[in-house]
Symmetry: C2
């Protein structure tokens, strides 16, 4: 029986003075899909329903970037340096060609990594993210979500107020809590401060010629929630217009965590794209 | 062995003084998917690769609306009356609940039929289409396509100028030509004139409160080409924003006939949606 996200042992690899915590799932062979996580998220913040299903037919690697969760070092306050840390981790694993799935902040890293081509990135999935210079409402949305005092801040943050979305959100929170032991520690402000700075800077930059998007030649799947309040869906539409080979999918009645609201549909769409 | 679009016998049913030509494919049971065709198109203008694959696990019905191809009567010059003809045909077949796939002009009919609820429409796929009051460039684009004097006018009309899109277009033209005998006749101006009037009127109307879109409560899948010149993709994005339960998919490097450029991907996406 194969490992699952919630039961797999966290492994470690050293790169550039940082000890990276990661979990590797799925078959030994095939092009690995490397997951790039959202603001403040650790490996445990991924949805087992998404990750385990993706790992049914390809290697999937979830990791904590520098300074996050089980990984040593410091979290840099720029996307470029966070992307360099992720690249160092991938090189340390000896991976020659990879697919990337970047969610939110992770989608910024994925764009930089695909555009600069330090590594051989084959295909790219970008979800709940924005281009350089895109529209973000991080601080307002996070503040409003915490003010709601929900069971879990991700219920207002990742899902819409509709009954259907909140029910799906509760199920996601339950799944993400399945791992009881050896959970990734929360490093608090040491992660959230530099990550927030990096996000706000990325969206405050201007990229009038869409240089980053135009440099991405890899086939890309963009998945977004219709009612993502942190990074409104116009970001996704605009990105798809500027990229050379992007498929755009927007799910109904869904927020920032659209991929966790519709895990089976998302996995089907991801698989069709990755196997095309 | 089951019938295929290109080999099935054209059958007939009478409704309201019109004798409708149609072909029915796939299993006997299940909710039928009724196909609503584009400007000047007959049953033979559908892509066998799309229709036969959709019919692998559901009944699929392609038909010629009043005045088109093998169907008697006159083509009305409004979307509402064309939709009424389609409804009369579906009632005559005795279908109690249906899914609709509307392409271009057929997507206008599908919107009207779903919104007014004369029939029990369960789910809706809209491709290469526009909302009431949407942006259309029908006459310019058709005129420019004919001026290209291509092997088939659908090569410039439905596909982008890229090599990949044109190669896919040639393959589609070949597939759509597989049927040698008993092909649907082309009725010329008697169809194209009233259909063009209906299309232009639909897009010239104003619907400031998006009444038609808001009246559609059915789950809807919107599929559009990134470079559809006849109905630009902003139509699809806008429709998805105004509908209560719409999933939007936009394919890269594709024109008005995006569903024929990526038949396997389109069928996979349609199946995931219809089976959800």
């Amino acid at each position: 029986m194969r490992d699952t996200l919630e039961q797999a042992r966290t492994r470690y690899v050293d790169a550039g003075g940082v000890r990276f915590g990661y979990r590797r799932l799925g078959p030994e062979t095939g092009i690995p899909l490397v997951l790039l996580q959202h603001f403040t998220g650790t490996i445990d913040a991924w949805d087992p329903a998404v990750v385990n299903a993706l790992a049914a037919d390809r290697p999937v690697i979830a990791f904590n970037n520098a300074g996050v969760g089980t990984t040593s070092g410091e979290t840099p306050d720029t996307i470029e340096r966070q992307a360099a840390d992720a690249e160092a981790f991938i090189v340390a694993l000896g991976l020659e060609e990879i697919d990337l799935l970047g969610f939110s902040l992770g989608g910024f890293l994925a764009q930089v990594m695909a555009a600069r081509g330090t590594l051989a990135v084959r295909r790219l999935i970008l979800t709940g993210t924005a281009p350089r210079g895109g529209e973000e409402h991080l601080l307002e949305v996070v503040a409003a979500a915490f003010a709601r005092k929900a069971r879990d801040v991700r219920l207002p943050l990742f899902f819409t107020p509709s009954d259907a979305s909140q029910v799906a959100g509760e199920a996601f929170i339950d799944r993400a809590g399945l791992r009881r032991e050896d959970r990734d520690p929360d490093r608090g402000d040491a992660v959230s401060n530099p990550q927030a700075q990096a996000i706000i800077r990325w969206c405050a930059e201007t990229d009038p010629d869409y240089g980053t998007l135009r440099a991405i030649r890899q086939p890309t799947l963009i998945v977004h929630g219709s009612d993502d309040t942190m990074f409104p869906p116009i970001n996704a539409y605009d990105m798809s217009r500027r990229m050379s080979d992007a498929t755009l999918i927007i799910y109904p009645d869904s927020g920032h965590g659209a991929l966790f609201q519709y895990p089976a549909t998302f996995v089907s769409h991801a698989r069709i794209f990755l196997d095309a």
